[in-house]
């Protein structure tokens, strides 16, 4: 099963890191990336630029509306994502506990990637009943 791990936490700018701490952070992610790749479960693992770089687009009636943001009023912002191919939720939980995203105020949400066949079946069941 494929799962998406979304990583939330307080944003820290690059300048908040000393060169040593920055190198340590990078090395920790590198180690996680390699371990997950070696285990054959890694599909993607990326960090995101800060929320101030976010842009939202809505297309309504053919008209495109682009806005700056969104700027959500919570301390925890989306900071990165990981896509894994694992056996079950327990394996996803084990990998989530191994990421460097496990300091104070951080959390990881795990969601299964949609089972498209089951979804299609469910739409047909609803129509039939």
């Amino acid at each position: 099963m494929k799962v998406l791990l979304t990583l939330y936490g307080e944003e820290r700018a690059a300048e908040d890191f000393s060169p040593e701490a920055g190198a340590q952070e990078m090395a920790a992610w590198q180690a996680f990336d390699e371990a997950a790749r070696a285990a054959g479960v890694l599909i993607a693992c990326e960090g995101l630029e800060g929320s101030h770089t976010a842009t939202t687009v809505r297309v309504d009636g053919g008209a495109r509306a682009v806005t700056d943001g969104p700027f959500i009023e919570t301390k925890e912002q989306l900071g990165g994502f990981i896509v894994l191919d694992v056996r079950d939720l327990d394996e996803a939980l084990e990998w989530a506990a191994k990421t460097p995203w496990n300091h104070d105020g951080c959390f990881t949400e795990i969601r299964p990637v949609m089972n498209y066949a089951a979804w299609m079946e469910a739409t047909q069941e609803r129509a039939a009943s």
Binding site: M1, R87, D88, L89, D90, L93, I110, R111, P112, N115, A118
Partner: protein
Amino acid sequence: MQEAFATAVERWPRDGLPDDPAAWLVTVARHRAIDRLRRDRVLRARVPELALAEEPRPEEPVPTSVPDERLRLIFACCHPALARPAQTALTLRLLGGLSTAEVAHAFLVAEATMAQRLSRAKAKIRAAQIPFRIPPDEALPERLEAVLDVVYLIFNEGYAASAGDTHVRRSLCAEALRLAGVLAELMPGEAEVLGLQALLLAHDARRDARVDDAGALVLLEAQDRSRWDEPEIERATRVAAHALRLGPPRRYVLQAAIAVEHLHGPDWERIAALYSHLAALGPDPVVALNRAVAIALAGDVRDGLARIDALAPELDRYHYFHAARADLLRRLGHRDQAALAYARALELAGNAAERAFLERRLRTTRSRSGPRTGA
């Protein structure tokens, strides 16, 4: 059967949960045997290397110190990815031997509501691939509270059966006591585990005095104390006292202290104080109800009744709520209102002994009403 269980464990996330796990396991065992015959025939036709590659990877058994098979399964079922009430409800349904109606009764909700909750939990298990697996020792603490609730609710269903003609289903009580004992041996330093054990022992000590020879329910204050199990009371008292020394008391330790106090005094002011500690741990309408009753029995019937009345929105489906309210109304001389409340309790009570008790109360309350209530 061993292999069928392994298959059950594998299939749970994929195919959803069976309605009757025991029957389902038997069916799986049969299918598995057919599969094996088929596979052997196919394998013989293939080159040995290919056959090896086709063998399913056996899952490594997780080392566990939980010594009891059913307890291991209960820990497996209480997966923290499910909401706590869903963990408990699902485990009671699948492993506790309770029907959906009985589980609904344990949670004070309608059967349809519980059926919906259970099917939502199963849907998450399926979609999020929550595995049914014996957890390793380090994962036990995060599941312990739910497991304690499961054992407690199994006992409860046995102690005051929600339906049928017998008030006490001994086998459920005995199984819950056994599980609590296994847990206490496994985790002798966990206050809550000892609290649960003491609580169950204290209730169980009164089992023979709770119904009279005709099978009718007898209230605690009217029980024949010579029919209480003295050695069990002593044990409950000892275990509760030990649990209280292990740190600030939480839910089960406080409930054990209350149950033990009932056996020795009872000192209603002390019981009301223990209930207020329990209420401080988090909102729980049943705790609030018991606290109100204790306050009333400690002397302030009016305050107790006012507190009970305030709980109506949450506890309208709970027959003890109406029975307790009726009793306090009776004590205050409001016989017509008391009769109405007994009648409502009677509508909700599930087992014959409780119904008989309430019918008796309703009759005596009605027969004594009449001219005096006109005022």
